[in-house]
């Protein structure tokens, strides 16, 4: 304990990371980062995507061994070699992408990692007991894959609590939750910390951070650029720390709207709703007429949905996970046929699915073959490789995709560059309709800004654009009109953040 920060809190410090440096190949992910977490507090770890927040916490949880730096738990230096070590030292982590076994019950998931005999009844009792103490209700016998997303997250938390952790790291926990659920979770974190434990909240949402945190640390490009008490910190300070000077010009333009929204807290309203209300006589480019969809198991995913999107309109969909948005977007993109009802759509639709690795790219193929993929189903005869290579080069330069050339394998690109390539491909032939799903997931600030700009540009050029994002703020920021989907139905809602949030949970 030689670091002055740590000395200041000696008696209360529960987790101290000191001088952590970690490189992936030639990329420095963490550069001499130190972080001190005090018992009884919530410590918010802020930063844009790619700033190193998750990497730092993976170090704290033993998933990565840093090249240099030390970790001390309750004053004792520790070698953190695996999650098992971390758990035994009382450090638990709830990952952004849940680490649950979908086919197992809640009780089995909670018991996972133990030793000796497994007694299902005792395990269920433990889940109930931990749940009761922490105020988290869960059915221990339920199979995880049947649970809604909020319950799955409670399961993750109970899993950590069952190991009697004293430090709980939560990675972007509110990202997948509706506003009300998110608020409840934040309140729960506060109570958990007040009971003498410590919480590390990884987030890129200033609102969440300042609402409940005691301490705030901001990372940018693998370095600590700000650390201090939340009470003594303003949103502006944080914002400048997070974004820095790089891309300051973009901030002024693009993020302006977002920041305004964030500033006014809960009362954000959809951007100029009244002004951008589609004029009635504008012809609908995309339309669903009383469309219903059943999945392969026969479960109803969409119930008699009617929606029309006009030329030059950007419609945002707000919904909690599993409300039918997946199917709705694929209907509009022509990737799914309705069970009943009618779909109107233009021949060419650009489609950017959320899981680009699974649904948009041939990772081991070169970029020109990835560009050739669009429309490959209808192509006849020869592959015009010369032309396709030129088209690929054009996309690379127009969309600022950093790649060694059209021959580079898609796998060699970063997530942001892959997304820019996909977007460039889907917009290249100026389709009359564009459907995008979580387009900025996993992207850093600059890539996100580029994606947003491209969507606005397509809308302004006359395309009908439909956007779904699990991040409600992104929907509110970009959309001309927001529609809320709940349990497979379009529901009416007010225009402000509160009302949309309520509608997402089915409340009226």
């Amino acid at each position: 304990m030689t670091v002055d920060q740590a000395q200041a809190f000696t008696d209360a410090t529960t987790l101290a990371l000191t001088g952590i440096t970690h490189r992936f190949g030639s990329v420095v992910a963490l550069d001499d980062v130190s972080l001190t977490v005090r018992a009884g507090t919530v410590h918010a770890l802020l930063g844009e995507n790619g700033a190193g927040k998750s990497t730092l916490m993976r170090v704290a949880f033993g998933m990565l061994t840093p090249q240099t730096g030390t970790i001390a738990v309750r004053g004792t230096a520790q070698r953190m070699t695996s999650p098992a070590t971390a758990l035994s030292l009382g450090i638990g982590m709830v990952h952004q992408h849940f680490t649950l076994v979908p086919g197992m019950t809640v009780a089995e998931n909670v018991a996972l990692g133990g030793h000796g005999r497994f007694d299902p009844l005792a395990a269920a009792a433990k889940v109930r007991a931990v749940g009761a103490t922490a105020g988290l209700t869960l059915d221990p016998q339920a199979v995880v894959q049947t649970l809604p997303i909020g319950a799955q997250q409670r399961c993750e938390i109970v899993k950590a609590l069952a190991r009697e952790v004293s430090v709980l790291i939560l990675d972007e926990p509110t990202a997948v939750l509706a506003p009300q659920e998110a608020a409840e979770l934040l309140q729960w974190m506060r109570r958990f910390a007040d009971a003498g434990h410590a919480v590390v909240l990884i987030t890129h949402k200033l609102r969440d951070a300042l609402a409940i945190a005691d301490d705030v640390t901001v990372l940018r490009r693998g370095r600590v650029v700000y650390t201090g008490a939340a009470a003594a910190t303003t949103q502006d300070q944080l914002r400048i720390a997070m974004v820095g000077n790089a891309g300051a010009d973009v901030v002024a333009e693009t993020v302006g709207a977002e920041l305004v929204g964030a500033e006014s807290g809960g009362a954000t309203s959809v951007r100029d709703t009244s002004v951008n209300e589609p004029t009635v006589h504008e012809p609908a480019v995309l339309a669903l007429h009383q469309v219903s969809v059943r999945d392969a198991r026969g479960a109803v995913r969409l119930r008699e949905v009617s929606l029309s999107v006009a030329r030059g309109e950007l419609v945002g969909i707000a919904a909690v996970e599993g409300s039918g948005q997946h199917e709705l977007l694929r209907l509009l993109a022509g990737r799914l046929a309705p069970t009943t009802g009618r779909v109107t759509r233009p021949e060419q639709v650009g489609f950017v699915p959320e899981d680009r690795h699974r649904d948009a790219l041939l990772l081991d193929a070169p970029l020109d073959e990835n560009v050739a993929l669009r429309g490959a189903g209808a192509r006849r005869g020869r592959m015009p490789w010369r032309m396709l290579r030129a088209a690929t080069a054009a996309i690379l330069s127009a969309r600022d995709v950093r790649a060694s050339g059209p021959g580079a394998p898609a796998r060699s690109l970063s997530g942001g560059n892959q997304q820019k390539l996909v977007l460039g491909r889907e917009l290249a032939d100026r389709p009359a309709a564009v459907i995008v799903e979580n387009p900025s997931r996993g992207l850093d600030f600059q890539a996100t800004a580029a994606v947003h700009a491209a969507l606005r540009e397509a809308r302004d050029a006359g395309a009908a654009v439909v956007l779904y994002s699990s991040d409600l703020d992104e929907v509110l920021q970009l959309a001309d009109r927001v529609v809320v989907l709940f349990d497979g139905r379009l529901v009416a809602s007010g225009n402000d953040r509160e009302a949309v949030g309520r509608a997402m949970l089915g409340a009226t």
């Binding site: 098992a84 992408h97 680490t99 649950l100 197992m104 018991a111 996972l112 990692g113 497994f118």
Partner: protein
Amino acid sequence: MELVAGFLESTMRYAAPLCCAALGECVSERAGVTNIGLEGSIIAGALGATIVAGAAGTGAGFAAGIAAGVVIAAIFAVFTVWLRADQIITGTAITLLALGLTGTLYESVYGTGGVALSIPTIGAVAIPGLSAIPVIGHAFFAQPLSTYALYLLAPGLAWWLTRTHAGLALRAMGEAPEAAIAAGIRPRRTQLLAVLFAGGMAGLAGAILVLAQAGTFAERMSAGRGFIAIAIVVLGRWNPLGVAAAALLFGGASALQTLFQAMGWSGIPYQLFLAVPYLLTLVVMASSGSAGTSRPQRSPG
């Protein structure tokens, strides 16, 4: 009645080595590793058992069979668990490797003359009382000790998979590796042990072929049992008791030829009967709906 008893006995004879190898493969697949090289472990087990049993007796022969199966599986594990190479490609190569190795060793040790080796076998042990049950008694309860071991192993494994933390960890590893890792489970160690267990069981299957049944070794005597065992795991829905039942079903289908021969049905050529177990496997897999797709998730290869 005689006929049925004979049919059941030959069913058990076909089923025992298959069940043994399939139970091992079941555990391996539950941990997320499909070992197409199972055939290699079986033939290695058969040769290992042959060489050692001749010199040191049947007990040592069984141990050697298991060890030989484990060695082959260890090569497979180096590639699939450690290097994360494609399981199908590696398994294909391992089968080829083991068939070549055993053939070469066998011909080098015993010559190419083709003189049938005679190796001591373990006899059947009749369980007093149970073996006297009419029709089924003799077939099920006058078996070599290795078969009784399987009677215990199938329910034992089923219990282990659902009622121990180690079993839970293994299943988690197969179904959601990242969840298992986050829970502090060591992924490579778990998969390695599962693969070695499967190799040992396949080696035991090879030893059963030699020491409990044939009493001799022949090149390629595994005769595709490793592949059939993999199909049996799918048929048994990755559940040890289901696997045991599927092995019996397969054994029964194989025994049909013996039954029909005994009944004097010469009208149907026996070669076509050889195909019955394979046809049955296809039919059962097809009729159990999405049998092939509801499998536990495989680690990306």
